[in-house]
Amino acid sequence: MDIEKIRKDFPILSRKIKGNDLIYFDNAATSQTPIQVINKISEYYSKYNSNIHRGVHFLSQEATSEYELVREKIKNHFNIAKKKEVIFTSGTTHGINLIASGYSNILQKGDEIIVSNLEHHSNIVPLQMLAEKTSSILKVIPMNLSGDLDLKAYKKLLNNKTKLVFVNHVSNSLGTINPIKEIIKEAHIHDAKVLIDGAQSAPHFKTDLIDLNADFYVTSAHKLCGPTGIGFLYGKEVLLNELPPYQGGGEMISEVTFEKTSYADLPHKFEAGTPNISGVIAFGAALDYLNGIGLKEIENYENELLKYATRKLKEVKGLRIFGEAKNKISVISFNIESIHPYDLGSILDKMGIAVRTGQHCAQPVMDFYQIPGTVRVSFSFYNTKKEIDFLILAINKAIKMLS
């Protein structure tokens, strides 16, 4: 992997922030966009911008085939059985809400839903809403100090009333890789359906949905070097067919009269209205870009960055890392004794380093550690050890200023 060459693909990485080179360590919030993806958006609008699936004309056919080609790419990339099981969404949040909302007609009073303590608010709130609507019960898989889920406790939570399990593949606040294959297997013993939130895992390693046997899977393109406002939902065909449509409109129907409307088949049933066409097409370019580098190479390199940064950060006096699971991605959440994460983040920002501070949309994790928040650095394959060295210098400088 030629990092210097890769970095040249990302125009934003040559920006200066207040006179400093930008160091972008907020990849878990959103990844940066390579020129190949930016060009694809421009190509779409310059060459074949038109509405899909409905036009007889040339442009519409071209746009439709580019759009559908991406469904095929996603099917191959995530090893999905059928193309129609790929539903385009506006992102992870949309996918979770679509499924949660669909189950509001299926769940019954007293049924149980399981989430984990490690979830992003996106994977908690829609389920609280679902539980409230259906009078079902929300249960939580506890976590331990290292940031791992307690699987023994999980197995005890499961029973014949368990209908749904929603967990993330990777925690956005700590970086823990959850043993989802096992989680799914256990849930299936009780005939519960599992949704995997892949927002943080898809960017870092290969996901094989047939092998995992997930019932539903959601992710966002913007964490995968793609544009914002686009993502996809995977669902097993039989399960998606059981769910009612999420939104009504054009594209999702087969016949409309005022007496009765019949819905289109998958995937269109869940894709009402004109979709984010340029977003989908650029998402395809992002997958091509990542596959061009190779996800295995990306995973190995990011692991190297993680190990290096963990070692360097631990040398900083008073620094404590939250989340030291054996299996984790290149995300490090930390605090420095008697320094507020927000203060540290502000000073780092002044030195051109973009980090995230606060609760990371995962308040239950912060409550578990009884902290107001952390500083989170998250690395991508275009980051370097040199940038990590500068981070350490900057942290030491900030500590001097702040204490």
Binding site: I339, Y342, D343, S346, P372, M401, L402
Partner: protein, 141 residues
């Protein structure tokens, strides 16, 4: 010139001496260290100002016709921001606080150099100060 605008002018001058934002932050952190601290008994949830990523507690008391502010925060830069506000608005008559404009904040360049959440917090703090002034004004009259 009333004393509020005089203090504001001083602050703008004081900050203009610094060449870069690191130095300004350092100065703000120093100011935070001299913040008149709120008494522990007033550090209640009722006295927390919402809209900040860090916690801010503020308390106001009337001394004759002047309003005295004390505050605290768990973040040190935030303490600096409150210290600036308290320097301007504490020991002033509620009427003057209510009439004061807050242009000095833009003149110092505070807002544009704070993150949006902190800038929001700053607005909430000023609102809170003015609310106190309004509440105590009626007590004086």
């Amino acid at each position: 010139m009333n004393s509020i605008s005089k203090i504001q002018k001083e602050l703008v001058e004081e900050f203009s001496f610094f060449e870069d934002w690191m130095q300004r932050y350092e100065h703000m952190i120093d100011l935070g260290k001299s913040l008149p601290l709120i008494k522990e008994k007033y550090k209640t949830d009722d006295n927390i100002i919402k809209g900040c990523q860090s916690k801010v507690w503020m308390h106001a008391e009337l001394e004759e016709t002047k309003l005295i502010f004390t505050a605290d925060s768990d973040a040190i830069i935030t303490k600096g921001i409150i210290a600036i506000l308290i320097r301007v608005f504490s020991k002033q008559h509620p009427d003057e606080i209510l009439n004061a404009d807050t242009k000095f904040i833009d003149q110092i360049g505070l807002k544009e150099h704070l993150s949006p959440t902190r800038a929001n917090g700053l607005v909430s703090m000023i609102k809170q100060i003015k609310m106190y002034a309004l509440a105590y004004k009626t007590q004086i009259n």
